[in-house]
Amino acid sequence: MPVAIDIAEVRRIASLAAIELDPLALETLRSQLQRILDYVSLLEELETGSEEMGTCSPRSPSLLRPDEPLSCLGTEEALRNAPESSGGWFRVPRVLNPPVADAGDE
């Protein structure tokens, strides 16, 4: 049974995906997603229960290197593509907003 998706659901998914959507495009996006979800609901025709989930193939073991430290990016290199940096750190807007209240304020 295809799921029905409304604007509120589109907003919820956008919040999970951390994408700010154009409000004028919400309904278009909703109807496009609905059409795609209706199409992929085709999979419900198939009885699947006991199969293992498919994985990358073929089933070679993962190639691992010896557990030895190697050289890594230096700070200057790591910051070379940074949109903003300061004193050897990536600079970002405040992490907490609004400021956390003091216990004494309660």
Binding site: A18, L29, S41, L43, T48, G54, P58, R80
Partner: protein, 491 residues
């Protein structure tokens, strides 16, 4: 020199090795050709200013007899594969200005082999598309008909090879993005077995599906390219230590005694009648070469595209979470806090199709829906792969199918309806889900003169078998220069 520029990579390599031609002459001629034609085609997004320097170094190696199969050969690289010091944009606003510090392993192997990196080619944003229209650099045009798409997402690479701007190019293939543009542009497009070529330095879209692939005018050129790229890489834990075959030698083996299956589900309604006929003619050529052709069945084929669009988008939603405006790429201005920075950078930085796929993938993985969508798709994936494995274990050596249900469509024809674009992947996406190798080879043209591609699918690490079949088909269906290109030369 114009005719020389349309030669296959293997023949160009022979002339370079015999010092009949220098890499510097060849590279300069290609840059001249790019200047003449790429203003219209828009296959390249940037050129390598150090290409002539690399060509000179290659010539020194060749003159001292130290050249290898790719030494001096110009190669183009899709703009989602890193080349140190050259911007990687993935055709996206969000990565504008990003200059990788390291080569992708594939790029490094090309450099070690002495190939000359000509430039980066256009693509659909983050490899999400089938037409190379969804790009901040504008659409690429098909050298056969400039009102049509080259296919995607490796359309820039396919168009560049078809138009003789380079003899070889790298692309990436997650659901058909090397093979479908190869079919639309009348060139050879190879997707190796999952794990055959390192993904280190390829910007990830669907990590269980992506492979770097080869585009060329000649099957032997594709074999040479794979020979250089294939092999394990400690930078990619999913790369395989399976021994690398002799792909170039396989091109000469022929198909005598091979069993080639035609899966009936790939020839049902929705397939253009001329493509059906062309692929069956290709089967007849393989039969003339001594192969045995038989009808087979892959009964769950119709579930491949829905399964692909759940698995790939789920993986993409995870992979593209790294583009958040913090460590690289573009950042939206004036965000009030970190979360707002993420939302606005991604909202403004990603195009519509990328946003759509991230949204779909996020939904498919979200609480309450994970099992219904992603879990289901992965179980269907297991079924799809098992059908292929069963056929190959019963003695089928290769499968022959169309590479795409239609020829190259017109620019703008499918951009308003994402689902119609997704259905272009109907013959190619299953192969990625199953992790198998496949190659698209030109097998004729339709009545309007557009190229038709046939696809050979092989078992795990069966690239040698692919080259056996592809070489036979190339000898039967000699590649033609694109129609628009011929018109330019007459003008």
């Amino acid at each position: 020199m114009n005719d020389t520029l349309l030669l296959g990579a293997a023949e160009l390599q022979r002339r370079l090795r015999n010092l009949e031609l220098t890499s510097l002459e060849l590279t300069r001629a290609l840059f001249q050709r790019i200047a003449e034609l790429d203003g219209t085609l828009n296959a390249f997004v940037r050129l390598n200013p150090r290409a002539e320097e690399q060509a000179g170094a290659a010539d020194r190696r060749l003159q001292s007899g130290l050249g290898g199969p790719l030494t001096g050969l110009p190669v183009a690289i899709k703009d989602n594969i890193n080349c140190a010091g050259i911007e990687t944009s993935c055709a996206s606003k969000i990565l504008r200005g990003f200059v990788p510090l390291r080569d992708a392993t594939a790029t490094a192997r090309l450099r070690q082999a002495g190939a000359v990196i000509v430039g980066k080619t256009n693509m659909d944003e983050f490899a999400m598309g089938s037409s190379t229209e969804a790009s901040i650099h504008g659409a690429t045009r098909n050298p056969w008909d400039i009102e049509r798409v080259p296919g995607g997402s490796s359309g820039g690479s396919a168009a560049a090879v078809a138009a003789g701007l380079v003899p070889l190019a790298l692309g990436s293939d997650t659901g058909g993005s090397v093979r479908q543009p190869a079919a639309f542009c009348g060139v050879v497009g190879l997707k190796p077995t999952y794990g055959r070529v390192s993904r280190s330095g390829l910007v990830a879209y669907g990590s269980s599906l992506d492979q770097i692939g080869a585009l060329s005018r000649d099957v032997e050129g594709s074999a040479e390219l794979l020979q250089t790229l294939a092999g394990p890489d400690l930078q990619d834990a999913t790369s395989s230590a399976q021994p690398v075959g002799d792909y170039v030698q396989a091109c000469a083996r022929g198909v005598a005694g091979l069993r080639v299956g035609l899966p009936r589900e790939y020839f049902e309604s929705g397939l253009d009648a001329e493509i059906d006929q062309a692929v069956r003619s290709a089967a007849a050529e393989l039969e003339r070469g001594g192969a045995r052709i038989e009808e087979v069945s892959l009964p769950h084929t119709r579930y491949a595209v829905p399964a692909y669009y759940l698995v790939a988008t789920a993986e993409a939603s995870s992979n593209l979470a790294r583009f958040d405006g913090v460590r690289f790429g573009q950042r939206a201005a004036a965000a009030s806090d970190l979360q707002a920075l993420y939302r606005s950078s991604r909202g403004r930085g990603f195009g519509d199709e990328v946003q759509r796929r991230i949204m779909l993938g996020t939904y498919a993985l979200s609480a309450g829906y994970y099992d219904q969508f992603y879990g289901k798709a992965q179980r269907v994936r297991a079924l799809l792969r098992q059908e292929f494995v069963d056929l190959f274990s019963r003695g089928i050596d290769l499968l022959l199918t169309p590479a795409a249900p239609t020829g190259a469509f017109r620019l703008g024809e499918k951009t308003a309806d994402p689902l119609s674009m997704y259905l272009s992947d109907i013959y190619t996406a299953t192969v990625n889900l199953a992790g198998l190798p496949a190659i698209s080879v030109p097998v004729g043209t339709d009545e309007s003169g557009l190229p038709i591609g046939g696809q050979l699918i092989g078992p795990d690490f069966g690239e040698e078998l692919l080259f056996c079949g592809a070489a036979v088909l190339q000898r039967a269906f000699r590649p033609q220069p694109p129609r628009w290109l011929c018109e330019q030369r007459k003008a």
